[in-house]
């Protein structure tokens, strides 16, 4: 005997019709799962989630003036970082895409000093002005970074 679970369809986010019509279907599909999109909404808000959708769905190779598509490895490391980090209240981080296809996460610490973490294929670039810190860490350091920058 089979049992039907009382669940509706799995969570699926969909784009507005006017956005969907702009996708070149043969080029790219979102690599963000529903869980990952949940994480983005939780940690970066609707604004950050929406920007990530733009970058993953539409910014194909050659965007702008011949720039690189988002780095899948950089994206994976940033998502792991987001799983572990707790942003301080009011941090309101912004997400950007660099010309090299890296994801640039930017916010200010409680004193207003800029913090930027850049997730690329080869590592995480760390910048914290107040701490005079500018260095590149290995991708597997995401957990340590999340601890260091939680509630900062």
């Amino acid at each position: 005997m089979s049992i039907k679970f009382p669940f509706a369809d799995p969570r699926v986010y969909s784009l507005d019709d006017d956005l969907r019509s702009n996708i070149d279907q043969g080029m790219w599909s979102s690599t963000l799962s529903a869980d990952e999109q949940d994480l983005l909404i939780k940690k970066l808000g609707d604004r950050g989630w929406g920007r990530m959708l733009l970058f993953t769905k539409y910014y194909t190779t050659g965007w702008g003036e011949g720039n690189k598509q988002i780095s899948p490895r950089g994206q994976a490391v940033m998502l792991r970082f987001l799983e572990h980090v707790t942003f301080r209240e009011g941090a309101n981080p912004s997400i950007f895409l660099t010309d090299e296809g890296e994801l640039e996460l930017a916010w200010s610490d409680a004193e207003g000093s800029p913090i930027q973490l850049v997730f690329g294929p080869n590592g995480v670039e760390v910048y914290h002005e107040a701490a005079h810190r500018e260095e590149v860490l290995a991708p597997n350091q995401y957990s340590r970074l999340a601890t260091e920058f939680s509630n900062v």
Binding site: N22, Y58, Y59, N92, D99, E102
Partner: protein, 152 residues
């Protein structure tokens, strides 16, 4: 063919699009000025007001998702001075070299140039606060590190 540097007193223009500008809260990405080989335009050959059409035609790709939001300007002597001041404080070395980079989309082709190489994130954080930002209604704005603020 040898590289031709732009004139020492020239004004430079940089397009600021969706990927480097979080419009909802007004944050600018430092990677706007980090390169490698940052694409700029020359006011010596193309009037500032003509850059709206030029950038929409040449850099707004994908057309509906990477939007030209504001235009940033800086003159070369100021760019060199900010870099020199930064280097003196941080014991670093930036050799600011801006070369003509002919581009068929630019009219004239030589109106396009590049700031060669990479600029450190520390310097880029300073530069984005020294650029003058122009909106299409001809208003001028400055970046205070958090958001664009109207120039009085």
């Amino acid at each position: 063919m040898s590289e031709v540097e732009v004139g020492e007193d020239e004004g430079l223009v940089r397009a600021v699009c969706t990927d480097k500008y979080d419009k909802d809260i007004g944050t600018i990405a430092p990677s706007l000025m980090m390169g490698p080989d940052t694409s700029v335009s020359r006011t010596k050959l193309i009037q500032l007001s003509d850059h709206w059409d030029l950038f929409r035609r040449c850099v707004q790709k994908p057309e509906k998702e990477r939007l030209l939001e504001v235009i940033a300007t800086i003159d070369l002597p100021k760019l060199r001075k900010i870099a020199a001041d930064h280097d003196a404080v941080t014991n670093s070395k930036h050799d600011i070299k801006v070369v003509v980079a002919p581009n068929d989309c630019w009219k004239p082709r030589d109106g396009h140039a590049e700031i060669k190489g990479r600029i450190s994130r520390g310097l880029a954080n300073k530069l984005i606060k020294e650029l003058v930002y122009h909106k299409e209604d001809k208003s001028k704005w400055a970046y205070d590190g958090d958001k664009l603020v109207a120039n009085s």
